[in-house]
Subunit: 216 residues, 2 copies
Amino acid sequence: MTTPNPPGRREQRKAALRQTVRDAAWQLVVDRGYEAVTVDDISSAAGTSAATFYRHFSGKEEVLTRRWLSPERLAELAPHIDKTQGLAVAVASLFKAYATMAAGYQVNVVTRLKVIHRDIGLEIAMARGRYEDMDTLAQLFGEISGQSPGSLAMRLAASLTVNARIVAMSRWAELDGQLPLDALLDEVAQTLAPTLDNCETAHDRFMDSDAGVIPV
Amino acid sequence: MTTPNPPGRREQRKAALRQTVRDAAWQLVVDRGYEAVTVDDISSAAGTSAATFYRHFSGKEEVLTRRWLSPERLAELAPHIDKTQGLAVAVASLFKAYATMAAGYQVNVVTRLKVIHRDIGLEIAMARGRYEDMDTLAQLFGEISGQSPGSLAMRLAASLTVNARIVAMSRWAELDGQLPLDALLDEVAQTLAPTLDNCETAHDRFMDSDAGVIPV
């Protein structure tokens, strides 16, 4: 008699495979350059088949451009986000957890950022992911503050947080990771804090109202 | 005896022609859709030739995606920017001047934003323009605050300002321009003000140091 794996176990195996593929892809891209690496190369290096690869990713671009707050990454970060003390504390705790996580990646984030910057296709994919990250954060901020995620205040807070992180990361990459990422991100979170406070307490006809999103 | 036009006059004629081409292009795109409009259509509607068109623009994409702080637009806005009272006041005065200018465009900005949002090529062109806008603003902020334009603090201030404007504009477009743009942008400028103050007074090893730019 066979017992089906519980969904949790299956999800874990899936996440592990995806991470193996990502690590293999980044290692190859660092060694050979983005253009020279094929999906077959990545699949072989990850010990799997191209068919399996395509069950998990649309192509090599997607492997290399996971957005910041993708569902799987957010699931890892979520337990570390302090949601009890408002947006500014939530962002500081999120940045801290992210810095810890980023320190553990096999191919380091500085290298990744430089590779992405050299390829317009990758940059575009990253830019698209930012809109999704903003939606994810606006949801989180809405949950914390009790405001609508679609309000101007929540979307402003989300956009500024996403972009503040990007500025910090590119600064850090420029300096070849010489500064401690956690301290750099914390500095940025503190700089942003009073504006996040303003967003949290916003209640006027401009900041408070709700509508669908045009991500211009 | 012929006297050459002073450079100021020539520049004015050039700017006027470019604006005529832009207005014609936007009117055609609104009437027929982006895909259906050709450079020949635009040139004819503007009363000029395709050859002249290509002396001023690389293609129809460029006509439709002037960045926020392009040199010609900045030249118009600059006299209205208050540089004497720090970054927050500078941004508020810049937003105010921009709102006044945007109210005067022949094809209104709401329509433009919706057209741009429907086309990925235009969105990408706009996204690239944002990096240039950030550099422009970092220069301005550096001038105002006496900090290096390449410092983390100035680049953070620039990125947040560029993105705060985008959030306000997309909000405004969603509501079909029903809210007064000047009041909406002012609200966003006020929300951002304390963080701009923080950037202005930043003096530590993270915010203060300088290096080349990787716009990730």
